[in-house]
């Protein structure tokens, strides 16, 4: 003997799934969107794989190796390499304020001869770099969790007051 349909079960809706035509496509779209975000993550859209940017002139070459995409809380390193093609007497590295905005600067190695502010930018005096030699400066950071958005993180290389090179870049911090 057959049993009646259980209470609150509508055979049209719960057996034949009438009226649920959109639920599977919506689910597939959501799965596709989630997968797309994961693929973007693999493609370094959300950081923090470093990029190398270079600027070159007859006197020097400047290389910045640092990630452009970051996330709140992560630790990362920025490496600045100065290649002297001629003797540089008074090397100064000038960083735009975006480098320090809502970020912990944990370490600067080697310690610069002097550091301070020049018209709102951060400057690091690195001293003399003989012709053909390389100077590497390592900065270690941690991003504050509330630091979200995009800001300029330019780098300029000076010899005394003479601007030799500049690299224009931005950093994007994801929550």
């Amino acid at each position: 003997m057959a049993v009646d349909v259980p209470d609150f079960i509508d055979l049209e809706r719960h057996r034949e799934l009438a009226g649920r035509g959109l639920s599977q496509p919506i689910r597939r779209v959501l799965i596709a969107l989630t997968s797309a975000v994961l693929i973007l993550g693999l493609l370094n859209v959300f950081g923090q794989r470093p990029d190398t940017l270079t600027a070159d002139s007859a006197k020097a070459k400047l290389e910045v190796y640092a990630p452009a995409h970051l996330r709140g809380g992560i630790l990362y390193e920025a490496r600045f390499t100065v290649f002297a093609r001629r003797k540089l007497n008074h090397v100064v590295l000038l960083l735009s304020p975006g480098w320090a905005e809502s970020q912990q600067m944990n370490t600067i190695e080697p310690s610069p001869a002097a550091q301070g502010s020049r018209d709102g930018d951060l400057y690091f005096t690195l001293g003399t770099v003989p012709k053909g030699q390389v100077y590497r400066l390592f900065l270690e950071f941690q991003v504050n969790p509330t630091n979200v958005g995009r800001r300029r993180a330019d780098v300029a290389l000076y010899d005394g007051n003479t601007r030799l090179l500049a690299i224009h870049r931005t950093i994007t911090v994801y929550p």
Binding site: M1, A2, I9, H14, R20, R27, G73
Partner: protein
Amino acid sequence: MDIVFRGIFVFVFLYVLMRMIGRRELSSLEPFDLILLIVLGDAVQQGLTQDDYSLTGAFLAIGTIAVLQLVVSYANFRFPKLRPVLDGEPIVVVQDGKPIEKNLRRERVTIEDLAAAARKQSIAKIDDVQWAVMETSGAISFIKKQDS
């Protein structure tokens, strides 16, 4: 403020994720699922409070999630039309001893899974089942034939 926003985002994301992955995954809690649950909890916590160890931060995070859960629960109760979206709907998977393949496939449930669920309710044969309904929680309810 940040923690409240993070709490809202995490809640909405987890809610959509749970609806998206389907009820089959929700119903089973095998050893691996248990480990996954702990890992998931840890990952969520990191994103929610990050380096905030304060009692205030914990209060805000837990409070946000609790209030949102209450809101969803109230909406579910107050507005029946929202229930299929928020909670899903039951699906009939067996009628008169015959599995409904289309519905089983939709929920990624095999005949073996169905038989195992029946055995848990002391039902040896699917033939003996009049109705089997996969509930919104992912559990399968069985109603035996009256003459079996």
